[in-house]
């Protein structure tokens, strides 16, 4: 859906089309197009013949879904449990949530007004169960004094059965839901299936199906509402800081710190902007949190745009972990560690968690697999590294090429020996000293056909030290290739 197309353009008929087998057909229409006599399912050619000024767009189900998700996000200003009713409906559980609006009608009016500003036409209904509300909103029946009777006066189509069943019910003279309800359930089930009987029971309220809310209720949530929307981002940040302080207080009482924090800024026109941060350690330090939120705002692809202003700001702590009041060591040991952890979080928030890393040793003799680079925020406890033997020069390079770079070996004194001279990066290197081979076999217990590598530590005449290997033995293959795997200091 592209709602901005419709705002203030009520006079042009618009249609969305879909390519189905056999041609392009209308999928959805605006009010004007319906008034002109078009209906979904018509071929585009027919529709154009009838209404030449028809504006046509490609139907995009995915975009529709996304739009519905965004509207659902916006509706979380009213209640935390909002469910999608695809393709074009939302179900809100407003039990206990109407006090802000002095009654459900005011709430609905507020919602309709917001959506109307986005160019949406809304039909709403209240019901004791999600199913009755859904049926009442989607189908129009004769006016009735109360909900029970309103449901009974709905057309049989409201049962949501397939077309054949609906037609069969009408043929049998059952025009409304009430007509069907008057029959014994067993007969309905026998004729139209278990589903039809179930649907009737759900509509008469004897079975209550809860809605599947889109998000779980967070551990801690605090919010601020504003009668007058706030239009300055700076002020919004102050509000976030106040909310963070409140949340931190609650966390402190529970001896916990938050690891996943989310701020949602609800704009007056129904859009929601989210700011999410995650930290490696549980925190409840407001100054630190605010630094991370500022960092997140700076790294947004689209800057925060208050538009007409925010009228609701909410902060949730989605994940909290135990955090006791910490005692600072006198030597600054703990404090120092904490500061580095803060830096890691700060850089991780801006650059992405995976870009700030720590090394972790792994049990493998293959050089490129012997270590892992893990996001520093979630790296496990440091593993001990094997200390080098005293008096030995470094046996492993400090820069490692991954993948190894092929080199052209010009000469080797004996086929199995190190090269005499080789070419790498368009420069010829004359080997002055060398040590090797250090033979590293492939992981033969995983795969048989990996050639053995013979590594040499070499130094050229200018003093540059390299780690090169021959991929394969002469006994294994005819002409093994040489590679440069790393450079030493």
């Amino acid at each position: 859906m592209r709602p901005h197309l419709f705002v203030g353009r009520a006079e042009t008929p618009i249609a969305f089309v879909e390519t189905v087998s056999g041609g392009v057909r209308l999928k959805a229409l605006d009010r004007e197009a319906v008034r002109a006599g078009l209906q979904p399912g018509l071929t585009l050619a027919d529709a154009r013949a009838r209404v030449p000024e028809l504006e046509v767009y490609e139907h995009d189900a995915h975009a529709d879904h996304e739009w519905l998700e965004r509207l659902a996000d916006g509706c979380q200003r009213y209640t935390p449990s909002v469910a999608l009713d695809e393709p074009d409906g939302l179900i809100l559980d407003i039990a206990g949530c109407v006090h802000e609006f002095e009654g459900e009608r005011r709430l609905a009016a507020d919602l309709e007004e917001r959506l109307a500003r986005r160019g949406l036409l809304v039909r709403h209904a209240f019901g004791d169960t999600p199913d009755t509300a859904r049926a009442l909103a989607r189908y129009a029946g004769a006016p009735a004094p109360d909900e029970k009777r309103a449901v009974k006066r709905l057309p049989v189509a409201a049962l949501g059965l397939d077309e054949d069943a609906t037609t069969a019910l009408s043929r049998a003279g059952l025009k409304t839901v009430g007509d069907v309800m008057a029959r014994p359930l067993a007969t309905i089930a026998a004729r139209f299936g278990e589903e039809a009987a179930m649907m009737i029971r759900r509509l008469d309220g004897s079975v209550k199906e809860p809605i599947v809310a889109r998000r779980t209720v967070p551990k801690i949530g605090v919010e601020r509402r504003f009668a007058e929307p706030i239009a300055r981002t700076e002020y919004a940040l102050e509000v976030i800081a106040e909310l963070a302080a409140e949340a931190a207080e609650q966390l402190a009482q529970r001896h916990e710190g938050g690891r996943r924090w989310e701020v949602r800024l609800f704009r007056a026109d129904g859009l929601v902007q989210r700011l999410r941060i995650e930290t490696g350690q549980p925190i409840r330090d407001v100054a630190l949190l605010m630094r991370l939120f500022r960092e997140r705002i700076d790294s947004l692809a689209d800057p925060l745009d208050p538009g007409f202003g925010y009228d609701l700001v909410r902060l949730d702590v989605a994940l909290a972990e135990r955090l006791d009041a910490s005692q600072l060591k006198l030597e600054g040991g703990e404090a120092q560690k904490g500061e580095v952890a803060q830096l890691v979080d700060q850089l991780g928030t801006r650059l992405g968690r995976a870009r700030v890393r720590r090394f972790s040793a792994r049990d493998s003799h293959i050089p490129e697999q012997a270590e892992l680079m893990l996001p520093a925020a979630e790296a496990p406890a440091p593993t001990p590294w094997t200390a080098p033997e005293a008096g030995e020069p470094p046996l492993r390079p400090i820069y490692l090429f991954d993948p190894p770079q092929p080199i052209e070996s010009m000469m080797a004194e004996v086929p199995d020996g190190p090269p005499h001279r080789f070419r790498w990066r368009r420069t010829v290197h004359d080997v002055a000293h060398s040590e090797g081979p250090e033979r590293i076999a492939g992981e033969w217990w995983r795969r048989q056909d990996i050639p053995t590598r013979d590594y040499y530590r070499i130094e050229d005449r200018r003093g540059r030290r390299f780690w090169i290997f021959r991929h394969g033995l002469y006994s294994e293959m005819e002409a093994p290739r040489w590679y440069l795997h790393g450079v030493f200091a």
């Binding site: 404090a335 120092q336 560690k337 904490g338 500061e339 580095v340 803060q342 830096l343 890691v344 700060q346 850089l347 801006r350 650059l351 870009r355 700030v356 890393r357 720590r358 090394f359 040793a361 050089p367 012997a370 270590e371 680079m373 520093a376 440091p382 593993t383 590294w385 094997t386 200390a387 080098p388 005293a390 008096g391 020069p393 470094p394 046996l395 492993r396 390079p397 400090i398 820069y399 490692l400 090429f401 991954d402 990066r425 420069t427 002055a432 000293h433 060398s434 040590e435 530590r457 070499i458 130094e459 005449r461 200018r462 003093g463 540059r464 030290r465 790393g486 450079v487 030493f488 200091a489």
Partner: protein, 260 residues
């Protein structure tokens, strides 16, 4: 804000001593055993072919200064051209890689932003900024910011410039590093890391000095006696007496970390 507080701190220092402190008043070859002056910005230049020597010298300087933990910032371009950091190799240089945090950034602008944040972090010992190519954004202004941040926070900053030519900067010292032939071991094996070091510039000190040194990982010092005479092979055991050296090094470690 940090800059201004650093400026105030400096002005106060000038007011008390009566003279602007230029340089650190250390001996010219103090770096051999104590690494580079702390809480300052230093630049290390190396050609692309000597990239590993430049990085090795930087790591060795950190160790000589006992200035861990280390944050190492590199760009994706460095990772592509220079290869990735090999932890095992760093361990073999003597570094405790559990105290190393690696930050991989997209470009030079991000590199400087991340560096500005890291330079303010008191918990760090050394911030190593690795850049490849000319890196025009690392100019006088950027280096002055880093220098001020270093003075305020006490973090030593090493700017490793690979494949770049020196441009005006606010760094306390500027070094050029190249690989140099090592003293071969038995059976003609390449020996310990050896560097050809040139001190191009030093604030308040002599410039244009040159050394040929060998990195002694076990003592965490640069050994210049290894190449004392012209014929390196003739001097197998000519290092500084280890015991005396260790004592000096321990002194350095015990001294107060923050100098400013």
């Amino acid at each position: 804000m940090n800059e201004s507080s650093a400026l105030i701190a400096r002005l106060k220092r000038i007011a008390t001593t009566g003279m602007p402190t230029q340089g650190d008043g250390r001996a010219d070859d103090a770096w051999l055993t104590q690494g580079m002056a702390k809480a300052q910005l230093h630049e290390v230049f190396a050609t692309v072919d000597d990239a590993a020597s430049g990085a090795g010298f930087a790591v060795a300087s950190v160790l000589a200064a006992r200035a861990a933990p280390v944050m190492w910032l590199r760009t994706e371009a460095s990772e592509r051209q220079g290869g990735r950091l090999h932890a095992t190799g760093l361990v073999e240089m003597g570094l405790d890689v559990t105290s190393l945090v690696l930050g991989l950034v997209e470009d030079e602008a991000d590199l400087l932003r991340a560096a500005a944040d890291a330079a303010r972090c008191h918990g760090l010992g050394t911030l190593l900024i690795e850049s490849w190519g000319r890196a025009p954004k690392i100019d006088l202004t950027a280096t002055r910011r880093l220098m001020l941040a270093a003075e305020a926070s006490g973090v030593t900053i090493l700017s490793l410039r690979i494949g770049a030519e020196p441009v005006p900067s606010a760094a306390a010292s500027r070094w050029r590093v190249a690989a140099c032939c090592s003293r071969p071991l038995e059976a003609d094996a390449p020996g310990k890391p050896a560097f050809d070091i040139e001190l191009l510039r030093r604030r308040g000190g002599q410039a244009g000095l040159r050394w040929r040194v060998e990195w002694d990982r076990d003592a965490h010092i640069f050994d210049q006696n290894a190449f004392a005479s012209g014929d390196s092979a003739a001097l197998p055991g000519a290092g500084i007496p280890v015991a005396a050296d260790r004592a000096a090094a321990d002194d350095a470690a015990a001294s107060v970390r923050r100098t400013g």
